[in-house]
């Protein structure tokens, strides 16, 4: 057991990350240790990143322990960079966090300056005074650079780039150029930039969720007007409730048809809130509500009926699909679409209904006079059964499935389905890719099953297994 991370007090008494827990306990018996949880850390970082969306739309994660904000054109809204930094550190302190902030012209430079503070009169000098570790090379290269007497970024920058690339690789030069601002790498914001974004700030934090929802409704109406001006409707909506302690609470809904009516939207948001396992916790109050529409689609204005001005009755199931998908989860309401494969379990794909609005049509059965050749229910994976057959490569005689014995009275087959040998590397099939011999069987009580023998007797398998793959109606 080793120490992964330490707080300021522990660092002050000389403990270091990487030390064994036993050594640390020997030095400080009152040490309180907790298990490291990378997922929880990541989750927390993501929540903080969502909270930082109040400062700039371009907020991204800088794992494992950093956040990167692109504040170009945003700082003046907060009264300058210093005021912005004060606001950020004030909020994080209220959430019990300590942060080191750094401003720089490039993301890499800001990253390095936050981790290796180098007091200097200006940014360029500060970057040149950074240690070579700031380049984020592998540890061996950093040690080699130090052995060569190159301790700072400035030392490296004074050398010809070709020699550096020859010794430490192209990436060392790239890292150096990015740090010096000669090359740039685009930032990947955690949330894509939304087409429409509406904010409402409160002078005082609001403790009531109902009031925050009422404000959201106002924003929804405003967003609807903006969408109507563009002749568009939204397919995805995201509400963010910013808490005064720096965290943000996201609420997302999705629709299968573009919408812009505030009432429809609010119904979906309420549905989403009802389905949450914990209610929304306002904490010390919300100080900002944001509604963004990340995904829009064209939506022409609809014509009212002439007489009486009544609209048509709702002739579509889209609102039902949206509501149910919002409440129970989008993966639970599905449509099935065909796929071109002869492997039975790959011949269809179940997609969320909210995504696939106009499902692909299925080919009708080519010979409708015949009974169904494919089952109504498919087991994926197939279920193993015990089969008695008169000869090993013959049809089934009786079989046992789920502890019940079925006597086969009628059968048809085999229908032989070969594995996808053209996909196998150098023609050799994997152990589980074998020819299947399918039989349509009916038992004494009239139940119809689809079973198969896995592997050709003798050539592919010494004792081919049998599986139940589907049930006919």
């Amino acid at each position: 057991m080793r120490l992964a991370c330490l707080d300021a007090d522990a660092l002050a008494i000389g403990l270091t990350p990487g030390m064994t827990l036993a050594d640390a306990r020997a030095r400080e018996p009152a040490l309180r240790a907790f298990d490291a949880d990378d997922h929880a850390d990541q989750d927390w970082l993501e929540r903080l990143c969502d909270g930082c969306a109040r400062y700039t739309p371009l907020a991204s994660l800088d794992p494992p322990d950093g956040l990167m904000l692109d504040i170009s054109g945003c700082a003046h809204l907060w009264g300058g960079e210093a005021a912005l930094a004060d606001d950020i550190s004030g909020r994080l302190e209220r959430a019990g966090m300590r942060a080191r902030l750094a401003f720089a012209r490039t993301a890499e430079a800001a990253h390095a300056l936050a981790r290796y503070p180098a007091p200097a009169p200006d940014e360029a000098t500060a970057i040149r005074r950074l240690p070579v570790e700031a380049l984020r090379l592998d540890p061996e290269s950093a040690v080699a650079l130090r052995r060569a007497g190159l301790r700072t970024v400035g030392d490296l920058a004074a050398r010809p780039a070709a020699a550096l690339a020859a010794r430490f690789g192209e990436e060392a030069v790239d890292a150096l150029h990015r740090l010096l601002g000669k090359a740039a790498r685009p930032m990947a914001p955690r949330r894509p930039l939304a087409a429409i974004r509406l904010d409402r700030r409160f002078a005082e934090p609001v403790g009531s969720t109902a009031y925050a929802l009422a404000v959201l409704e106002g924003l929804a109406e405003e967003a609807g007007e903006r969408l109507a001006e563009r002749g568009q409707g939204g397919r995805r909506f995201e509400a963010l409730f910013f808490r005064s302690d720096g965290l943000a609470f996201p609420l997302r809904v999705e629709t299968s048809l573009p919408v812009r009516e505030a009432a429809t939207l609010m119904r979906l948001f309420r549905e989403r809130i009802d389905s949450l396992s914990d209610p929304i916790d306002p904490g010390f109050g919300f100080d900002m509500v944001r509604l963004s529409v990340p995904m829009t689609e064209p939506l022409a204005p609809s014509q009212l009926a002439l007489e009486g001005g009544e609209t048509r009755p709702e002739e579509d199931v889209a609102p039902l699909v949206d509501r149910l998908s919002t409440r129970v989860g989008r993966r639970r309401i599905q449509r099935i679409v065909p796929r071109d494969s002869h492997i039975p379990e790959q011949a269809q794909l179940a997609l969320p209904a909210v995504e696939c609005r106009a499902p692909a049509p299925w080919e009708a059965a080519p010979t409708p006079d015949d009974p169904p050749m494919r089952p109504l229910h498919l087991f994926d994976p197939p279920q193993p059964i015990e089969v008695v057959a008169e000869v090993p490569d013959g049809p089934p005689h009786r079989f046992r499935w789920r502890r019940a014995l079925h006597e086969v009275t009628r059968f048809e087959g085999p229908e032989r389905i070969a594995p996808q040998w053209w996909k196998a590397p150098d023609g050799a099939l994997e152990g589980h890719d074998r020819t299947r011999d399918y039989y349509r069987v009916e038992d004494a009580r009239g139940r119809r099953f689809w079973i198969f023998r896995h592997g050709l007797y003798g050539t592919e398998a010494a004792h081919p297994g049998w599986y139940m793959h589907g049930l006919f109606a």
Partner: protein, 273 residues
């Protein structure tokens, strides 16, 4: 006496106004296509009502097939989608709905919406929401195992929603015992031996359907019927097509099935479906 008769008539009118379940006369019915059943039921099953189908766990395939086919008949020719709501338990035990198989039965899979709900409370809530949507053709609600939540109140709620929207509700209860409910009819479904094809191959899907209870009218009858996909309707089960005159349950005399010639077009055609 006359006074009492007028007040009785007034009372009847008041009750008729209160009772929303019987608007006027008989609701529209959809025919199954099976002559015997349609004649006994006065033209088919009532549209916009709740019908219950019970099936043993071993008959899950037949039960689901019957409910979907009845739902398909109720949805009719238009584009109205069929909504199949299942519980997680059904999906785990009964297998996933299979598009090619649905298409082979004549049910267009692109008109089918499938919902898999975590528990029976969510299932009932979703069923209620679905039944309130008049754009749907029919709703099939599939449960598995005993469902204490589906009591008289819950089924009454579903029946009222179905009446208000005119969407037919078919509740398939697998492995459950009939309990008092507000359903219009109650059936027991089981698979029946099919009329065999030449070569003793299993034929068209056949069902045994028994009418357990009916709100208005006699019950207790049973029919054996066959789904004829080319007609898109149920038909008379014709076991007599079997030349050997063999009833289901009898052993085939020989098991030389491996040499039976399967029409060359069929398996390949099934593959393309």
């Amino acid at each position: 006496m006359r006074e009492s008769s007028t007040s009785l008539a007034a009372l009847r009118r008041t009750i008729a106004a209160l009772d929303r379940s019987r608007p006027e006369g008989d609701a529209a019915r959809f025919a199954t296509g099976h002559p015997g059943l349609d004649a006994a039921m006065g033209g088919g099953l009532a549209r916009g009502r709740l019908h219950e189908l019970f099936a043993e766990p071993e008959e899950a395939g037949a039960g689901a097939g019957m409910s979907l086919l009845l739902g398909w008949r109720a949805a009719g020719e238009g584009q109205a989608p069929l909504f199949w709501l299942r519980s997680q338990g059904s999906a785990r035990m009964g297998g996933a709905p299979y598009g090619p198989g649905l298409a082979a039965l004549g049910i267009a899979p692109d008109r089918l919406l499938i919902g898999t709900l975590a528990d029976s409370a969510a299932l009932l809530q979703a069923a209620l929401d679905a039944l309130r949507c008049p754009a749907l053709g029919a709703v099939v609600i599939e449960t598995r195992g005993p469902q204490p939540l589906i009591d008289l109140t819950a089924s009454r709620r579903l029946a009222l929603a179905a009446e208000a929207s005119g969407v037919t509700a078919l509740m398939l209860r697998i492995g459950d015992a009939p309990a008092p409910s507000a359903a219009e009819t109650r059936w027991r479904v089981a698979a029946a031996p099919s009329a065999p094809l030449p070569g003793d191959a299993p034929g068209h899907s056949a069902f045994d359907l028994r009418l357990l209870r009916r709100r208005a009218g006699p019950d207790g009858m049973g029919w054996r019927m066959e789904w004829q996909a080319h007609r898109g309707a149920f038909g008379e089960w014709n076991g007599g097509r079997d030349d050997l005159g063999r009833e289901g349950g009898a052993q085939p005399t020989t098991l030389s099935g491996a040499v039976v010639s399967v029409p060359a077009a069929r398996p390949a055609a099934g593959r393309a479906a």
